[in-house]
Symmetry: C2
Subunit: 252 residues, 2 copies
DNA sequence: CGGGCAATTGAAATACATCAAGGCGTGTGG
DNA sequence: CCACACGCCTTGATGTATTTCAATTGCCCG
């Protein structure tokens, strides 16, 4: 019946995400041979593979804490997570939403300290590789280093873009740009069809990512809906007027 | 007479900064033997050195533009610069102030595209190394890669911290934290003495870095002065009450 | 049936922007 | 040497985007 790769979430908190090894750096780097049951047709076998531990975490659970030390480098295989920083008064900033195929933190490749916490938004499945294994691989293949540098650089650009948005853009723009950037990242993984994408975020997630309050996010989203720009229902988002929505995001 | 390493700026726009090869990654990485006349006593000769081109840029001039391509990797030897992004409506976000001893952009080590523009604040002296030279060095010495990774990671952390500050902190906090972070970075280079440091920033620089307007920056700084927290005069800043100032920066 | 999370909506408060005017120091051209 | 413009900072009045507070609803779940 349901031919879309977007799965409706029957009960919030249950694995709603499609797997995407296609865009995963671990797959691209040739260190992961894909999830045991990832038979979505797009999968191609890699040349090498490293031993990995597989984990499944229910929605809303913290995966890693800010100050933890790790000797592993985790990759998201399935589900959405958020990379967050929490201030002492409890307010949070989400630095990045982690999607299937994202490395949790490139800096873990070189040191044991992650600078931020990671929380599961939906149920999350991830794979961890030993840092030492990965490092050994890097020393053997210098081209890998360039690939890693690209991934790392992309992450730095995301952080910079976020800073610009938070510093210089209005609430409307910030929210529209967040949605558009998620759409682009999902599209690159083949997870957008017909302007519709999975959208498991609560409004407080959007608020924490855009430096706003959940109340204000509600008002802005209502306004977007009233203007016929987007529709959000059943944990999925459809862009009804992509051109106009793009304009809202790019006002300045 | 003047025994402080803080030089007063007799005419705005003329080289006001102390050189600091001490904390420079180029020096640390052993690729730079220091400025020809950097005889400040802290200098120790390196093991290796690469050919470098030396440049001097007057204050207020753009050094690199957002979309330029480069086959060189520049390091700041002297003076302050700002790494900025400009939106189409002309508003700017300063992502980072570049101080003596800073690499302009670590991403230039691996690709020709810099994601942001760089503008001289004071007169700036910098050295450029050929990317190919540096890369060749990296392939020969794997320990260098780890050092580069550390520098790179620090830069990513700065971008993330900026995003948190812009997203979740008040104007008072943002400005106080900017000043404190500059103090810490200068102190690491031995450029702070007796709670006094060089401070060549105009208020519009502070505004562009904190996502505020110059008018509001003026009001906040006046308030800081009225409260006896800091004093800014003659392009230099003194922290009169460091403990209380720290508290302002860490309210949440 | 009760309780908790998520979303909505309106009213009031506030932090910051915008607008406007004036002062001060500095370089410049007559 | 003076007049003047210009960049930089300051200050006050006013406007507005966003927060805070509060009440209400629906919904899922125990």
């Amino acid at each position: 019946m349901n031919v879309l790769p977007i799965l409706k979430e029957p009960h919030p908190g249950r694995a709603p995400c499609i797997r995407s090894c296609a865009a995963c750096p671990a797959h691209d780097l040739g260190i992961c041979h894909g999830l045991s049951d990832a038979g979505n047709g797009r999968y191609t076998p890699p040349q090498v593979s490293l031993p990995a531990s597989e984990h499944t975490i229910p929605a809303r659970r913290v995966i890693f804490r800010q100050r933890d030390l790790h000797d592993v480098v985790p990759f998201i295989c399935q589900g959405w997570a958020a990379s967050t920083i929490t201030l002492s008064d409890g307010s949070r900033q989400i630095l990045l939403f982690l999607l299937p195929g994202d490395i949790v933190s490139p800096s873990l490749l070189f040191g044991p300290t992650a600078s931020c916490s990671v929380e599961a938004i939906t149920e999350v499945q991830y794979r961890s590789f030993k840092r030492d294994d990965l490092k050994a691989l890097l020393t053997r293949d210098l081209e890998l280093i360039e690939k890693v540098a690209r991934v790392w650089n992309e992450r730095k650009l995301q952080a910079q873009q976020l800073a610009v948005d938070l510093g210089r853009r209005t609430a409307d723009e910030r929210i529209a740009r967040l949605i558009l950037s998620l759409r682009d990242r999902l599209a690159a993984r083949g997870l957008v069809q017909d302007q519709t994408m999975e959208f498991p975020l609560r409004q407080h997630h959007v608020a924490d990512a855009t430096g706003l309050t959940a109340v204000h996010v509600s008002k802005v989203l209502s306004d977007f809906r009233r203007r016929g720009l987007i529709d959000i229902s059943d944990r999925s988002l459809t862009m009804l007027n992509p051109a106009e929505f793009q304009r809202v995001a790019t006002m300045r």
